[in-house]
């Protein structure tokens, strides 16, 4: 059996980074993990872009914590749909995140204190610029593919727009060309939960030795609702009451956790609040809100995508109501209009937005076929 060849590195970038907002970040670190081996002509690299709360740890087992399996381990590895026996896969923790790359928790060199509220607002396009610099450092002139789900899919799309010559295939899964008003509304509720937590201290809670946990919990609970489908929730929890074995199933007539679904959301919120940074949550949801490549083209996605050279694979899931199939079809429609190379699959899966992270034979066979074909045509 072949190996994953997991390797983790922190890479420092000393040259200042101009951001879309006009701010400039003087220097920064990015944490990456790589899997497989870069070939001699450096043409087999695949960049995996992560979504809201994920990290560089895409596949395999965290060397420091055997319980910590990569967030897309079912997709990436030896013999998996994105086969690390053939491809050199890179996971990168985005700038502004809280898993080792420079972000609000990092020390601001000018103040000697954590950036906190002073960390600049980052956009999807900024991330792509940092990832391109990373590719430069690794000597990768052109990625065989850039791939991501949800917010990760936005980064893949932005790659195809910003660096058309540096990406051969663009794999956009469960994503959207821009957030809807409803999407932004959910993000705003989540942000408001954090901003209104008394422990938030205007973003400088690190100095007070506290964490706005209540806000983070609520933010995660709201987010989580949008990741699951109605059917999925009905199946998982229905109207089951949360009761220890043997206890009466009568209503308790109280406001404590009563239904299973409440217990689940509380659990998810609690777990999240222990490992995720509140400022990062604000930054990442704002990056989602701002993403709209058509904006500088008078709202025309066709024109925004006019220069892309990458071949696209766009995938959506039937029960995803956060970024439903219609949103993916908008991307496909523009690519078709431009006569770009594109395939589109709509996977009939019950798990809502979360489906992109789960194992489903139709979905995984499709990705396997796409990367298999890519591999054969590269020879």
């Amino acid at each position: 059996m072949s190996e994953l060849h997991l390797s983790r590195n922190t890479i420092h970038f000393a040259e200042p980074l101009p951001l879309q907002s006009g701010a400039v970040l003087s220097g920064y670190d990015l944490v990456i993990e790589t899997y497989g081996k870069l070939n001699a002509d450096k043409s087999n690299a695949v960049l995996i872009c992560h979504a809201l709360n994920a990290s560089h740890h895409v596949a395999g087992v965290n060397p420091d914590d055997p319980a910590d399996i990569g967030w897309w381990d079912n997709m990436i590895g030896p013999g998996k749909p994105v086969d690390t026996d053939h491809f050199f896969v890179i996971g990168v923790n985005n700038l502004g995140s809280c898993f080792g790359s420079t972000g609000p928790m990092s020390l601001n060199p000018t103040s000697g204190k954590p950036y906190g509220a002073d960390f600049p607002v980052i956009t999807v396009e900024d991330w792509v610029n940092t990832q391109a610099r990373l590719a430069d450092k690794l000597g990768i002139r052109r990625f065989a593919a850039v791939m991501g789900g949800s917010l990760g899919g936005m980064q893949a799309m932005a790659w195809a727009i910003q660096f058309p010559k540096r990406i051969e295939h663009c794999v956009v899964i469960a994503s959207t060309p821009k957030l809807s008003a409803q999407n932004i509304a959910f993000n705003e509720v989540a942000r408001n939960a954090i901003l209104s937590d008394p422990d938030f201290h205007g973003g400088n809670y690190y100095e007070y030795g506290v964490v706005p946990k209540r806000g983070l919990r609520l933010a995660r609970m709201v987010g989580h609702i949008t990741y699951l489908s109605d059917d999925d929730m009905a199946e998982k929890f229905g109207r089951e009451l949360q009761r220890p074995n043997g206890e009466s199933h009568d209503y308790r007539f109280s406001f404590n956790v009563e239904f299973e679904v409440e217990s689940y959301l509380h659990h998810q919120g609690e777990k999240f609040s222990t490992y995720f940074d509140a400022n990062t949550y604000l930054l990442v949801t704002r990056a989602l809100d701002y993403f709209d490549p058509s904006r500088r083209y008078g709202g025309s996605l066709n024109r925004a995508l006019a220069e892309v050279q990458a071949k696209f694979l766009v995938v959506s899931f039937s029960t995803d109501w956060r970024f439903p199939p219609n949103r993916s079809r908008e991307i496909v429609q523009s690519l078709l209009s431009n006569k770009s190379e594109v395939s589109y699959a709509e996977i009939d899966a019950p798990h809502g937005h979360d489906a992109f992270l789960l194992e489903d034979p139709r979905y995984h066979n499709l990705i396997r076929a796409y990367f298999g074909q890519m591999q054969r045509s590269r020879k």
């Binding site: 694979l313 078709l336 006569k339 594109v342 395939s343 699959a345 066979n365 076929a369």
Partner: protein, 195 residues
Amino acid sequence: MVRADFAAIAKWISPNTQVLDLGCGDGSFLDYLQKQKPVHAYGVEIDDARVLSCVQKGLNVIQQNLEGGLALFENDSFDTVVLSQTLQTIHQTEKILREVVRVGKESVISFPNFGHWSHRLSVGLGHMPVSKSLPYQWYNTPNVRVLTVADFEKLASSLGLKIIDQCILHEGREVTLLPNFFGSLGLFRIRRAEF
């Protein structure tokens, strides 16, 4: 094994043109066509397994139900739209034909001819036909519309479609004598009449 109508359809498609194959199945025709001449092509298919086959062949394929129309595609955005042995599986016959000629400057429609003598004989003897061109039992056929060459010509005329060319085949050979009687597969090259 190349289907009898592939070569006949490919003849009507010029090199270096844009082609859309609706109901492209496992991509056999587009694969065949692209080996015959350079074209830029997309297929449309609803079935998961067939979409997968297309991706395995490296074809551009869009997973979509044709019953919903062709909203993803702009007017006159393809030189040729192919609807190969798919028309008979679609409920909304008039709608798809209107959509096909909206999107394609030209279109090629092929379908099994219910009017072939063996089919007529079969019905005459009291049974629904089962043949090479209609290889299903009545209870498991994917075909929801049965039509003859003459029926298609009549519908084309009532929808304002211009038939530019036609080719009626039986066992891969063109039938010129009484095609609606001796032909088992109808192929029509059409476009909008006002063109």
